[in-house]
Symmetry: C2
Subunit: 400 residues, 2 copies
């Protein structure tokens, strides 16, 4: 029997999804599972978007342009303008979800063995895309005790080699919720200019920045037209994760032209979803405000509750809808599995994402989990109650 | 300014889409363009499928399972059973179009520099996926004069090296319309067993086999459970190219498990489209029959017309809705561009796909084009009339 590939063996299982079989088994036993492991919000998708599916008059569901439907790209120009990001429709390549935008950015700028510096913890699937693209992710470690702020320049410079091609951030950050300050963005700007690198910024949580802070897009920075690549998705913005519509935005024509050729090979992103995404550009501000307030409330709920659990260490994040916290357990992987296999409180348990999968440095995050604020406040409150009881009952608990 | 990657430079433009700017310019000049360059049929998508979008009751457009919605996979089990292909739902991985199924199959079984033997001419985007995956496509040449039948075993064996990992066919073939005979499938079966290779079969045109011939799926062959991988898509079956729903089907658990990990990185295929694809499984047979008869009629129309154009060489294909024919021109690339830039007949012209992009061997196909039977018979007839006049007017014509 022919063997599978080495990269298939190397390809990491998703830390977000690898425990799914245990969750499925728990549900079969009649246990209710609160899913805080995945960024799948319970927020309704805007009506204007879901109605676009209902009201279509399409007879032939045709291929679209490989770079995305032009009318949708025009809609995106309008959307970005509201966020003070000024691009033309030719500078936007619509992709099948943010995932594809990331892969195309890697393929267009990096060859097998090239390196990309990423602050860790980072969105775990960057690892998977890097394996697919044969690219090496080089982490610079952000620390829980610093609230996951960018480490000093010297630590980043120490990671730059002749194979380094890009620095990539997620801002606001998944999994930490960290929002990069202007000073940090300018430090990264200086570094990419000094070392002739690309600057990739995954900004899918742009809408979710709390405490009156401001979001700084990579495309707000000056003098980076050839280097800045914005990677985006509508999944979180409109609570439309299943739509699989993202985009790559840059002023760099070589990247656009290269990415389009990768795009031509797969022909086009889904047509109906792009039409729905176009409709979503006109989502009422009242919806956006309500969603923002809802996430903000959930964040408060979670941190109020976490503050009352002995041994839990974490800071309230300023963005996105995640937090990474240290738990008083021997091993977060074991604890998360135990929650699904052996624990319940009145027939209910919680599913969390072990955080080690969000680090590239071995050994980091072994006692950390990512919690997603994706359920309504009552469910979040109940989840935190379950977590508290579980931490009391867990055989591998560490007494602080 | 940092440079783009070597693979981006290597990535071939799609021969199907590279002339699009010239077509757009022609349209701006008021010219009507008959698109025979792309497999985008004018056939209406089944009502049952388009109604699935209209009739949804989804409030939150959620992520689905990374391997595809289970209910859709059950629908596919039923669909395949009708084609005498017996698989369980766990043996099906739903992908974002057939493109992703091909990439996942490559990534799961081949490493950088590994080789895959493909009869040429072949679906041009295999080249693009191979660049993305760092895999080398090794062609074995099928000849127009043999009707594009599989060459003798000796020619295939001569291409096998220690790096060869798979043989891949498209059956019925795009671009030639060739349908592999059982004897040919059995020869390939013996070769993959003898040389310990995988056997990939792209069968997206399964429904379109004419002249009473029979389609032989790779999953009909015995003793290949570990080697056979079926790659599929609903794009052509239901004239739903914009839906981007495909799948990978195999009995090999290692491939399924590996491909799922690549799938987890991109989270899931589009949800609404999978629900529509599920509805499409129950497309009435009367629709399928009508579409089949329509394509068959178009094929007759094209070959009746081509037979009357001096110097055109080609055989009527038994499957799919394409043909590759030799034209009496100096260079098909130049001719196809000239059709869009300089020629029109009463304000109308045709767009064809130069066939050299469907070959991996340099120099082959330089005087060949792929014609897609994707327009109704009247439009196909008019297109052939335009082609005939264009061949008379073309400055680079070769007098036979």
């Amino acid at each position: 029997m022919p063997r599978i590939s080495n990269r298939a063996k190397t390809m990491p299982p998703s830390p977000i999804r690898k425990l799914v079989p245990f969750a499925e088994a728990a549900k079969k036993r009649g246990i209710k599972v609160y899913h805080l492991n995945i960024g799948q919000p319970d927020i309704p998708t805007p009506e204007v978007m879901m109605n676009a599916f209902r009201n279509h008059e399409i007879k032939v569901l045709e291929y679209g342009h490989s770079g995305g439907l032009w009318e949708y790209r025009e809609g995106l120009v309008k959307y970005y303008r509201r966020h003070n990001i000024h691009v033309s429709k030719e500078e936007i390549l619509v992709t099948t979800a943010g995932s594809e935008a990331i892969i195309f950015a890697m393929l267009a700028t990096m060859d097998e063995g090239d390196e990309m510096i990423v602050p860790e913890p980072f969105y775990t699937n960057y690892n998977g895309f890097a394996v697919e693209a044969g690219v090496k992710v080089v982490p610079v470690t952000c620390r829980a005790e610093d609230g996951f702020a960018l480490p000093p320049d010297a630590e980043i410079r120490a990671k730059i080699t002749p194979r380094t091609r890009a620095i990539m951030i997620c801002n606001p950050n998944n999994p930490t919720g960290y929002v990069y300050r202007l000073e940090e963005m300018n430090r990264l700007r200086a570094l990419v200019l000094e070392h002739d690198l690309f600057f990739f910024s995954d900004e899918v949580y742009r809408e979710f920045v709390y405490d009156g802070k401001k979001h700084h897009s990579v495309l707000h920075l000056e003098g980076l037209d050839d280097r800045a690549v914005l990677l985006d998705s509508i999944s979180k913005r409109y609570s439309a994760c299943g739509a699989r519509v993202g985009c790559l935005v840059t002023h760099n024509k070589d990247i656009l032209e290269s990415a389009l050729r990768f795009g031509q090979a797969r022909l086009c992103p889904p047509t109906m979803e792009q039409l729905a995404a176009l409709a979503a550009v006109d989502t009422p501000q009242s919806y956006m405000d309500a969603v923002f307030n809802d996430y903000n409330r959930r964040r408060e709920t979670v941190f109020n509750a976490l503050g009352k659990i002995p041994g839990v260490v974490g800071q309230k994040p300023s963005g996105a809808f995640y937090t990474v916290v240290k738990l008083p357990v021997d091993n977060a992987d074991r604890f998360c599995r135990w929650l699904l296999e052996e624990f319940d409180d009145k027939g209910e348990t919680v599913m969390l994402a072990p955080a080690n999968g969000f680090y590239a440095t071995p050994g980091l995050g072994d006692d950390e989990v990512r919690i997603a604020f994706v359920l309504n406040s009552a469910a979040m409150e109940r989840s935190m109650e379950i977590l508290k009881k579980a931490l009391q009952a867990y055989p591998g608990k560490r007494i602080a």
